[in-house]
């Protein structure tokens, strides 16, 4: 299996796609306003005609590259390219202002690389074990798992748990449109033929994450970016390597573990890492003045999330974050169903993905250290050209899935909805996760009741189900405890 996986990955075209993915990911990430999720959503339509290995490794390349790329504009412009780099901007820009932009970029690149590599190691070590364990799940456990995924995502993402719940419920309800898989009844189709097979979540995703962000770009069209400063001595100094390796190992591990939790993305991980680095530091008062370790910690953590988010996605079919949700879409387009059976039925592809993650991180490191001056030039692409191009890519991308203009309409509708959700501080991620986990939750809910002849006790009949139930209660209670804790702290 491993040999087969190496054969798949070491194909020149696959390696080229990884390099292209990482390079375009860095470009997307370093452009303020283009998030990692948006980048992966925009590249997704290009993968429809590819095979599974090319497709998923291209997307992983974009993911790894974009999470790192955000730090370039954070350091050079004090404007994080992606939310995951907001913590990096705090000290990175201060270092750049002192004339140490190259050093700051070198530290960011190296710690991102170590964080990413560590997360790959955990991905390889944890995933097969978790997948094996998940084989014990039957309908009630899968239902409880889906509900847990939805609850934790709704409670963590965004500022309000209630809004998160509404957002998740909207996604689940969208997933109910079409023919009911168990009885064959039509649900909410209103005799519209385009709705008979349901709403495809890829146009919804492109709308919510790419189109809505492009509308934000239109809103901020008149905001001018500051010209980037000179970049010299990018390769870290010998004296910096000790700190980089230490931070990379520690906060890369932290990022991976945080990434495993559904709904907690790279942005949260980087701020937690920044806070931890500050509390461990001998000079916490110097944080915010341009400290090298204050760049290394969040960068290692946010790239650590990349591997961590793939763990629940591959093993349980539950996405760790919005990017992992898009990857689930990419796998499903290829006819692959993420979950424990993926390891049994498509082992070589899974292992190829693991190896590809390592290669993507190496590419990111090499490109980051050698071509950062080139990527910094991307910052000068004017929004007046970029935003209309994103509009076009959203239209063409959502059309390409089924060659259907109806899908384009769906994308535009959800682009508009996504923009207003952002305005009312509602996270869009639960909508997508609801769309993905909704069918899993409903089918297993009804299957479990069918098997137990309508006995609801079946959902708490095994140790695994009870564990999930406890986790659901904790995830729903978490925001209340968090609020109380914050009040006490204040």
């Amino acid at each position: 299996m491993i040999v087969e996986a190496f054969r798949l990955v070491l194909e020149p075209s696959v390696l080229l796609f990884i390099v292209l993915g990482v390079a375009s990911g860095i470009c997307i990430g370093c452009l303020p306003g283009l998030t990692t999720t948006m980048g992966v959503a925009l590249v997704l339509p290009l993968t429809f005609g590819m095979d599974a290995t090319h497709s998923i490794l291209l997307l992983i390349g974009v993911y790894v590259g974009a999470v790192y790329g955000g730090s370039i504009s954070a350091i050079l412009l004090n404007t994080p390219g992606t939310p995951a780099s907001a913590a990096t901007a705090l000290d990175g820009y201060k270092m750049a202002s002192r004339g140490e932009a190259g050093r700051a970029l070198g530290i960011s690149t190296s710690s991102s690389f170590i964080g990413g590599m560590i997360s790959c190691v955990y991905l390889i070590l944890i995933s097969p074990i978790l997948a094996k364990f998940a084989l014990k799940f039957s309908a009630p456990e899968f239902f409880m798992l889906a509900v847990f995924g939805l609850c934790i995502i709704s409670s963590i993402s965004g500022k309000s748990m209630m809004k998160g719940l509404i957002s998740g419920a909207l996604g689940i309800l969208l997933a109910t449109i079409g023919i009911d898989s168990i009885t064959g009844s039509m649900r909410f189709t209103f005799n519209n033929m385009n709705l008979f097979s349901g709403i495809n979540f890829i146009p919804v995703m492109i709308g919510l994450f790419a189109m809505s962000q492009a509308f934000v770009g239109v809103e901020e069209m008149n905001q001018k970016a500051v010209v980037a400063r000179a970049i010299t001595h990018v390769f870290p100094k010998r004296s910096d390597w000790g700190m980089i390796v230490k931070s990379g190992l520690l906060y890369g591990t932290m990022g991976t573990l945080i990434g495993c939790i559904p709904g907690v993305g790279a942005d949260i991980a980087s701020f937690i890492a920044y806070g931890q680095a500050k509390s461990f530091s001998k000079h916490p008062e110097l944080f915010g003045t341009g400290l090298p370790e204050a760049i290394a910690a969040p960068e290692a953590a946010n790239n650590g999330v990349t591997g961590g988010a793939l763990i629940p996605m591959l093993t349980l079919g539950v996405p760790g974050d919005a990017v992992a949700a898009i990857m689930i879409g990419a796998l499903m387009v290829q006819g692959l169903q993420p979950g424990p059976l993926l390891f049994q039925n498509n082992g070589p592809i899974v292992y190829a993905l693991f190896i590809g993650c390592f290669i993507a991180n190496i590419c990111m490191f090499v490109l980051g250290l050698n071509s950062v001056r080139l990527f910094a030039k991307v910052l000068s692409v004017p929004k007046s050209i970029l935003v209309p191009t994103i509009f076009l890519l959203c239209f063409v991308g959502s059309y390409a899935l089924n060659n259907s203009l109806f899908d384009v309409g769906v994308m535009l509708f959800f682009g508009i909805v996504g923009y207003f959700l952002q305005k009312t501080e509602v996270s869009s991620s639960p909508v997508i996760l609801g769309l993905i986990l909704g069918p899993m939750a409903e089918s297993n809910f009804r299957r479990a009741l069918l098997m137990s002849k309508g006995d609801y006790g079946t959902f708490l009949s095994t140790g695994i189900s009870i564990t999930f139930f406890v986790l659901i209660v904790i995830s729903l209670a978490l925001p209340f405890f968090k609020k109380k804790f914050m009040k006490k702290q204040a």
């Binding site: 719940l165 109910t176 649900r187 203009l405 809910f445």
Partner: protein, 148 residues
Amino acid sequence: MKKGNLIFAGAFSALAIFIIYFAMQLPKARGGVPGPGYWPIMISIIMLVAAVTVGIQAFTKEDDTPLELSTSDHKRVYLAMGLLVVYLLGMYYIGFGIATFIMLYGFITWFGKYAWIFRIIMALAITAVVYSVFVYVLKVPFRFGILF
């Protein structure tokens, strides 16, 4: 933000009630196994409860954060949304190539300050690249519209 939260709560409460109404007309449960309407009703009730809670919180909590939706920046977004709906219709009736060129030329002219020749070259180049990648490389057919 208070007003925004109230509109948000109202919109989603209405959506939840609308779904409950239609889901109740679907076949009922048989032998203890829920029918196709059971799950949407359950989720809609959760949505309704959450929306009502957001509405109550909006009334009871003091929130001074303004929800700005009518500044000139926002109006630019609404106009862009409208133009994209026109572009979608244009694509359907006229064809991909011409509609896309006009859309790109229009937006670049609106958003930037470039010479007309640069705008034409940019709009043409982007249209050509995207068309070539999707049609010739990814084999996506653009079969709609009376023209190109």
